[in-house]
């Protein structure tokens, strides 16, 4: 028994890498559709969106890049679809320098369909009757982080004089209407790292605007402190949070369930893989520690 543990401890780490790789590939080829338990922080976001009157404006900030796409992309897709299904208006910006601008456009297009405003394609194919500039709009990316957030509190048009496709913001009804944080009902930040915190400790603290954050799993433990203090009214922690939110929205909105199922990647698929790899790593930790305790007991006996 001790020999077995010794051999396991001294195993070439590349066998571990192979095991993790297989654990990641197999559930994609053979989907498991594992169940999810919804946390209160996720339920809070769902309830808020469901309770808002039609026409309310939500600001969505893409504060992540392709590196955390697998966690944040499903949150973005589901959230924008949920808002449009509830007839809320969505104004999108990007504040993350390493790829936020491309993520914003990509996810907006994934949610609403292949819009192309410069060539006159303004109507959403996924939500017929919803138009770019009237029901949703994308202002693009701006440098400056906190300074930009402060400036937006005074005048959004000064920070974003043009929307992403380089038309003046005053040209479109929705972007013209939103001039400061007072014009939006709440801010949804899809964040990796510190930008989500800035929305809480700058915009919520100084302007009183409600903030919800969809963060990566790495940042989640810290964000729970802000959620508990009420600086964020909702929190989607990592892929688990995305899967839970997706589950809640799909129960109530079958059209969104169809759209999500048609996506190449969604939180549910990712969560299957996540669960299996997570289980394997948990097993590694338990085996490693059992082996360590067995070894220590042997040394004490000697």
């Amino acid at each position: 028994m001790t020999d077995l543990f010794q051999r396991l401890m001294n195993m070439d780490k590349r066998w571990l890498y192979l095991l993790v790789g297989l654990a990641a590939v197999i559930p994609i080829l053979l989907p498991l559709n594992l169940p999810v338990n919804v946390a209160q922080s996720v339920q809070d976001l769902y309830d808020r969106v469901e309770s808002l009157p039609a026409g309310s404006i939500v600001l969505v900030s893409f504060d992540y890049g392709p590196s955390t796409g697998p966690e944040n992309d499903p949150m973005a897709d589901t959230f924008i679809r949920h808002c449009l299904a509830r007839d809320l208006k969505v104004i999108c910006i990007a504040l993350y320098p390493l790829g936020g601008v491309t993520e914003g456009l990509e996810e907006l297009r994934r949610a609403v369909g292949p819009i192309d405003p410069p060539n006159g394609v303004l109507e959403s194919s996924s939500f017929p009757g919803k138009f770019y500039g009237k029901d949703f709009v994308y202002l693009g990316y701006k440098d400056g982080g906190q300074a930009t957030m402060r400036q937006m509190g005074e005048n959004v048009h000064t920070v974003f004089p043009q929307e992403y496709f380089q038309a003046p913001v005053t040209q479109y009804e929705l972007s013209n209407q939103v001039q400061g944080y007072g014009d939006v009902t709440f801010v949804m930040s899809l964040a990796t790292g510190i930008i989500g915190e800035w929305w809480a400790n700058l915009v919520n603290a100084q302007y009183g605007t409600p903030v919800a954050v969809g963060c990566t799993a790495v940042s989640a433990p810290k964000y729970f402190a802000y959620y508990k203090a009420g600086q964020m009214f909702a929190l989607l922690p990592g892929l688990k949070g995305a899967a839970e939110y997706e589950y809640l929205v799909e129960q109530q909105h079958p059209r969104i369930a169809e759209a999500t199922a048609a996506d190449v990647y969604n939180a549910g698929k990712g969560w299957d893989v996540q669960s299996i790899v997570y289980s394997i790593i948990t097993l590694f930790i338990i085996i490693g520690n059992v082996g360590f305790l067995v070894e220590r007991r042997q040394q004490l006996r000697r």
Binding site: G65, G144, T282, I285, F292
Partner: protein, 228 residues
């Protein structure tokens, strides 16, 4: 004196602007003058300028990187072929990127954008994502080889980690239905308490460091030593 004292004075003035404007933004003061009083207007203009300056600072590293890599190539230093790859990738991406940035709304803009987007989709996004994904393998290997319960503190760390990891596993949850609630409690109470302690402590430290910089005690960011 001019070279050392004036930058410190500039730091102080530039730092005082957002602090003053914070207090001058009170609604009661702005009621009489909806366009904002003088301090707020100056601060707003300054904030727009800082966005431009921040962008300029972002590109500082480009000059340094060119210097270092050109030297490596000319001296045939270790790994110089990779320096060639690096500079080629940088120049090609930058050329298409600047073309995309400056192109007006006409047919050349379409070509510029398409070319640049191709580089982003085929190069930047997969490379960045894959670099980060290597960490998944390293974390698994480290968890197996190095995560050991050597003392009480390590035991608590392990217990908390297992609680989180098992609390999201659907099979374990089915066997132990109280587990998700216990996991949430752990996240919302002891974890949030510790994180709050860290946030408050770090924020107080950062605020005191900020004060040291503004009043000129801390000068290392200007390349000055203490007493200079």
């Amino acid at each position: 004196m001019f070279k050392k004292r004036l930058p410190l004075l500039l730091t102080f003035i530039a730092g005082m602007l957002p602090i003053f404007s914070f207090f001058f933004r009170a609604p009661a003061l702005l009621e009489d003058d909806p366009t904002g009083n003088g301090v707020v207007q100056v601060s707003d203009t300054f904030e727009q300028w800082m966005v431009i300056l921040a962008a300029g600072a972002l590109l500082l590293g480009v000059v340094n990187v060119f210097q270092v890599n050109l030297k490596k190539i000319s001296n045939r230093g270790k790994g110089w072929p990779y320096a060639v790859v690096f500079l080629t990738a940088l120049i090609v991406t930058a050329v298409f990127g600047l073309w995309d940035a400056f192109a007006r709304a006409d047919i050349t803009a379409w070509y510029a954008h398409a070319a640049y987007q191709w580089i982003v989709e085929a190069g930047f996004k997969p490379l960045q994502a894959t670099m980060f994904s290597l960490l998944a393998f390293y974390v698994a290997s480290a968890a197996f080889r190095a995560f050991r319960v050597r003392n009480v503190e390590a035991g608590i760390l392990l217990a908390a980690a297992l609680l989180i990891m098992l609390g999201v596993n659907p099979y374990v949850v089915r066997a132990l239905p109280f587990l998700p609630d216990l996991t949430q409690w752990t996240l919302n109470i002891p974890n949030a308490a510790a994180q709050r302690g860290i946030i408050i402590g770090a924020a107080l430290g950062a605020a005191s460091m900020a004060l040291r910089i503004l009043i000129g005690i801390e000068r290392s960011y200007l390349g000055l030593q203490k007493g200079e």
